[in-house]
């Protein structure tokens, strides 16, 4: 019987003692914090497992509030909780207007001239500092796939035509590809903007066509055919105005002699079936 008394005594004592200590601590040592903190903490698993790389759920919650991590970075919580956190904090879970990366070059292998054989490291960035690579068009894609490697979402596969093919469904518009491309060939645009110029060469006329069969030769027909001022010629290339009063239309592409201006209904380049499973060229 005395054991029971001791046990219950000690336990109750301990419980009461620490509850009071904590209560006092709460009063006097409390540090003001973001009121949302509590709620977020509630939604996090509270395992303090450190799996997110942050030292515990509290730290993760703070990072969430500071907007430097995303709810999904907590791999332990359930999908539902993550969604709830995202909703509570009003952070975007990748919704918004769909945007996609597009290549300002259509110079597939065989269409663009080649001056010298590039025998160096298989990397666009490395080739770009070696006389800009061996292709005749100094503005065009080098085709060595740095963008493919940079895309964390496997949204780019290098096609047999030597150009990077973006899979629109996979692209999350992160811009990594455009950051890595030494020629700055990628632009990330809303999918809705369907008219696109896939050439970056400012050369005109036969000079342009001499380097690449599908170059924009600045003939200006697209600017004439597009409604109003929606397409203008600037520096040897058409510039499409999406903000202006006239909506650019597919007409602009009808008389393009080289196919440099295109109307995109899906992927910019058709990804051949066999390339879908392409494991990705690993850097040797």
């Amino acid at each position: 019987m005395s054991a029971v008394v001791t046990a219950v005594g000690i336990m109750t004592g301990l419980g009461l003692f620490f509850a009071s200590v904590l209560a006092v601590a709460y009063r006097f040592l409390r540090v003001e914090e973001d009121p949302r903190y509590e709620t977020v903490m509630e939604l996090l698993p509270g395992t303090n497992c450190g799996a997110c790389g942050e030292p515990g759920c509290g730290a993760f919650a703070n990072q969430l509030l500071a907007d430097s991590v995303e709810p999904g970075d907590c791999t332990v919580s359930s999908a539902g909780d993550r969604a709830e956190i995202a909703e509570f904090l009003g952070v975007d879970v990748g919704g918004g207007d769909a945007r996609v990366a597009r290549l300002r070059c259509g110079g597939a292998e065989g269409l663009v001239g080649r001056l010298a054989a590039y025998k160096g490291r298989g990397s666009c960035r490395a080739a770009a500092v070696v006389d800009g690579g061996g292709r005749a068009c100094p503005w065009g894609c080098l085709g060595l796939g740095d963008c493919e490697d940079a895309c964390d979402f496997d949204a780019i596969v290098m096609g047999a035509d030597g150009l990077p093919h973006v899979i629109p469904e996979a692209c999350v518009a992160c811009s990594d590809c455009s950051d890595v491309c030494p020629l700055d060939l990628f632009v990330v645009e809303p999918v809705e903007q369907r008219l696109f110029v896939q050439c970056a060469s400012p050369l005109e006329g036969s000079d342009a066509r001499a380097l690449c069969a599908v170059a924009c030769d600045a003939c200006g027909r697209c600017a004439l055919d597009g409604p109003g001022e929606s397409v203008r010629m600037v520096g040897g290339l058409p510039v499409i105005d999406w903000q202006g009063p006239d909506e650019p239309t597919v007409e602009a592409t009808f008389r393009c002699p080289t196919g440099a201006i295109v109307w995109l209904e899906g992927a910019q380049f058709v990804v051949p079936e066999e390339d879908w499973e392409f494991e990705g060229r690993r850097r040797a």
Binding site: I10, M11, G15, F18, A25, V31, N48, P55
Partner: protein, 193 residues
């Protein structure tokens, strides 16, 4: 004195808490990805282990003889509360220290290394000074393991690690190699040779 040294060395390297007792693996895997986080986590660990050693010794000496069946629950409640209290105190008194170490405290509070320390120290009937030496050794050992692991993992970001090995699998294999390397300390200072 020699005993204290042996207790320290044994806990730090010979029977390293993480690499040969498998204690505290969750934070070991979680925060060993960045060097400075790992190091600070280690320091915070040393601190909590010391607090734990003192609490556990105190409980063992004064309270638990009356109720041995409360050992586990007393350990965990007391340690958790004390650490929480210390955390709050640090946060209030020294925001800088809190930034550096305090944020790690909740992660450590209830992990097995802490409780393991209390239990082992009880099983082995360590006195106060021995407990402190044991806790220091365990903490230094945890820090060492964390920091070495972080060194390898940080460099891994620059390696062409095969995809299937990214993440936890790699950490475990590296821990395995480290654990093999630490076997070199076996028998250190056991005075047999």
């Amino acid at each position: 004195m020699g005993d204290l040294l042996w207790i320290f060395v044994a806990a730090a390297v010979v029977n390293n808490f993480t690499l040969s007792w498998f204690l505290g693996l969750c934070p070991f895997l979680g925060v060993s990805g960045r060097l400075d986080t790992a190091f600070r986590m280690g320091l915070a660990n040393i601190f909590v282990l010391l607090v734990t050693a003192v609490c556990a010794w105190f409980l063992n000496a004064f309270i638990l003889p009356h109720a041995p069946y409360l050992r586990l629950i007393a350990f965990i409640v007391v340690i958790a509360s004390v650490v929480q209290f210390v955390e709050m105190a640090i946060r209030k008194l020294s925001p800088a220290l809190f930034e550096a170490l305090g944020i790690f405290l909740p992660l450590i509070t209830t992990n097995c290394a802490i409780l393991g320390l209390a239990l082992f120290q009880t099983n082995r009937e360590y006195g106060f000074v021995e407990s402190i030496s044991f806790a220091l050794g365990a903490g230094v050992g945890l820090t060492l393991a964390l920091v070495l692991m972080a060194g390898v993992r940080v460099e891994n970001e620059l390696r062409d690690v095969p995809d299937v090995l990214e993440g936890a699998a790699m950490s475990f294999l590296v821990a395995g190699i480290l654990s093999m390397a630490f076997m070199g300390f076996a028998g250190l200072f056991s005075g047999v040779a």
